[in-house]
Symmetry: C3
Subunit: 324 residues, 3 copies
């Protein structure tokens, strides 16, 4: 579809969150269709996980986003979908790869939302495809288990914070979950959640560096808990790490099922977003260094540095592999 002014920031760059939302919608459609392709209980595919994804080139207002999705692996209860987004300037005809993403879905019964159904198997053209898919499946399963145990952290407001400290740029946003945010099952679309997370992360990044910023990448996101229609969700973000030209922001989503359910507020999702600051010509700018004050902030900075160096090393390894 054509990118509209509301999809973009003031500089005309489409929000990463808008692109994530389109990716998730395409993934939900193809996996729901696949899971209903055999006779059996009708179901809706729910997003369980999005793998780490990079935004390769910015998209602008007036461009057309071409989204294509393909099922690349099925386990007994889950579907792996690969989604590609191309941006197309319809006036010049120029096309660019904007994003490649891998998503995992599980089919939930329309009659009983707590029942996970079986996934019809797909046919592989080569045996290696199935083996590689199985390897990816096992890896993500491990990572999902790990993050499930991670402790729930809370962000408190800071009075009169110093410029460039964590407290200075931290932000939060509340949203009342309405019917247009939800699937047929009455749960929030994963893409809607990711769009709100990107919005908060973008506000944190802009507050910190006071320039035009764009989403560079999003780390793997695990959706452990569904969010029901009528909930209030609080999306909070704080900066955890800065390199010379990038900022890492941690974003939490907490759901508050305050009506009609005997349940406390709970952590639904958390993820790391990486942003870069761009000049008017679209070149990356240096970013102000994050000032850490507490022990926790220093620890999170070091952890962020670890993730940054690991990603950098992986990318160099890939480039060397490609060069061979």
């Amino acid at each position: 579809r054509i990118m509209r002014p509301d999809d973009a920031n003031i500089a005309g760059n489409v929000h990463g969150g808008t692109i994530l939302k389109m990716i998730e919608e395409a993934g939900a459609i193809i996996s729901t269709r696949h899971c209903n392709s055999q006779a059996g209980e009708p179901c809706v595919a729910a997003l369980a996980r999005v793998e780490r994804t990079d935004f390769l080139s910015p998209m602008c207002i007036g461009e057309v986003a071409n989204v294509s999705a393909e099922i690349t692996y099925t386990s007994r209860h889950s579907v792996e979908v690969q989604v590609n987004v191309m941006s197309e300037n319809i006036l010049t005809g120029a096309k660019k790869l904007t994003n490649k993403a891998t998503l995992w879905y599980v089919p939930l019964s329309l009659k009983n939302v707590n029942k996970v159904l079986e996934v019809p198997p797909i046919q592989y053209t080569r045996k290696e495809q199935e083996d590689e898919g199985k390897k990816r499946y096992e890896e993500q399963k491990l990572d999902r288990l790990e993050t499930k145990q991670r402790n729930g952290d809370v962000i408190f407001p800071i009075i009169n914070p110093e410029l460039h400290t964590v407290g200075y740029s931290q932000s939060s946003l509340i949203h009342l979950v309405g019917p247009s945010d939800c699937t047929l099952l009455g749960f929030v679309h994963g893409g809607v959640t990711m769009k709100l997370m990107d919005e908060v992360a973008g506000i944190v990044a802009a507050r910190h560096c006071k320039t035009n910023i764009v989403t560079a990448s999003v780390d793997a996101i695990n959706f452990h808990e569904k969010i029901k229609k009528g909930c209030v969700i609080t999306i909070s973000g704080r900066m955890t790490f800065t390199s010379n030209k990038s900022m890492e922001i941690e974003v939490f989503v907490d759901a508050d099922p305050f009506v009609d359910e005997p349940r406390d507020r709970y952590r639904a999702v958390s993820a790391f977003f990486t942003y870069v600051s761009l000049s008017k010509e679209g070149k990356p700018l240096p970013v102000p260094q994050l000032l850490t004050e507490t022990e926790d902030e220093k620890r999170r900075f070091e952890e962020g540095k670890g993730r940054y160096l690991q990603t950098k090393a992986k990318r160099q390894a890939q480039m060397q592999q490609a060069a061979q």
Copy 2:
């Protein structure tokens, strides 16, 4: 209501689809109100057909759209509504007629969506009004029957198409039908469908001529099949004909009720849109000629030429009549 940036293209011209959506909403309101004006089963009016409509002058961001609707004929089971759209520049006070449209609705029972209810008759001030209405009613009934038999065509992607061929500009878009797209009965508003059709037709036109384009007219559209909440709809468009200064695009809407219904994908609507290319001063520009390759493309081009010449002849006859 006031036209917003998201209602318009980059040049500031309001999308034809936004106007069609407003027209349909006004028509649905007036005909639903009329059909519920007598004691009896409550009902919702569903769009059955839109007559051919011309976009007489472009509307811009910041202008106010004034929509007025009137019931002009009732048969036993259908209502004819005439809708006029005026654009008003609230700063200068200037008003222009943007669009005149004729729509047909049928009342469906709220309790049983497959039951068409009876329409309370309207009073005519002159006997001729009723006779003319009856003539229009018979004509559209015939045309509806005809298009119902028309064969379902499918658009396949083309690899590496040549510039200005049919394959080069053809486009498609998928949309998951959400609650805000639907009426009280849980079916897609006709106006929502038309807006999406116009969006695809606009992308086809822009890809072909790479300039600012606007909707000039829409041929009669028949809504044979309802589309239910939760469906995925695929809207596909391909160019069928070019005259010196206009492009005709055929648009198909296919619905895929992939959840909760034992039914295959089906063709819900199809229609022809005509676009023109505008210079920065708003003057029509010549358009590149469509290159037809296959026999089918050549046949469709000739059929499009037929429609173009017929419309041109009709318009000249009307102008001569007006001049007498």
Copy 3:
């Protein structure tokens, strides 16, 4: 959240209605949460009244709106909420108070929408807080009773009105209430209604003075009647009074439950909006004087003058108090 192009007028000023909608959403969330904080029947807080509110400084596209809400008083069946809106320019870090508003909510049972539940009492830090709250509660209760008896006026279209008369600028807008406009109970959010009212008032003001206009204040609004999903609402506005630099516009909302309910059209809300006209530099401009023609128009003009002088006197008293 970040203000988008669709939230603002052509001059880039965010619509007062967008701000009112955010205020109401925050109020609905905090009061619904409070009313469900004790074991008992689940409920949704419905807006009963908004106190008079001033727009202190305009907000622009790209700024972040910070909305904070606090419960300041509870009676047996109602909650008073104070909401503050700050606009923040995230590039410069500058913050300004945009709006302060006081809202009253009542908790309606999720199982039976006609049942008003009891509100858990809040703790006051000082006895005076409770007494002042009680005084505000009694005052608003009186005012609510008064407006309930006010007679329903209707706006008729005028043919060929003179420039600057009441008939020249009066406007109306219809809207079909969809699912995304409604709460869990299936009734329109008060904030959605206020946004539409501001849109109509803005069109009236722009038609009258043909310049860039912004909302300066909104008088107390009482929500006597709920509006159900599927209704058609007609929002009508007419100018009642002009001072040298401000315009007062009266806005009515009429609901037409034309489907599924044996009930006539009824007046759901009415309110007075005050607008000012701004130059390109953001300075208030003189406005053309309203030409009153009928006796009713002259009477309404005098009543508007009364409200204007009363507000002016109150503001001067407050400023003197602040100066002491």
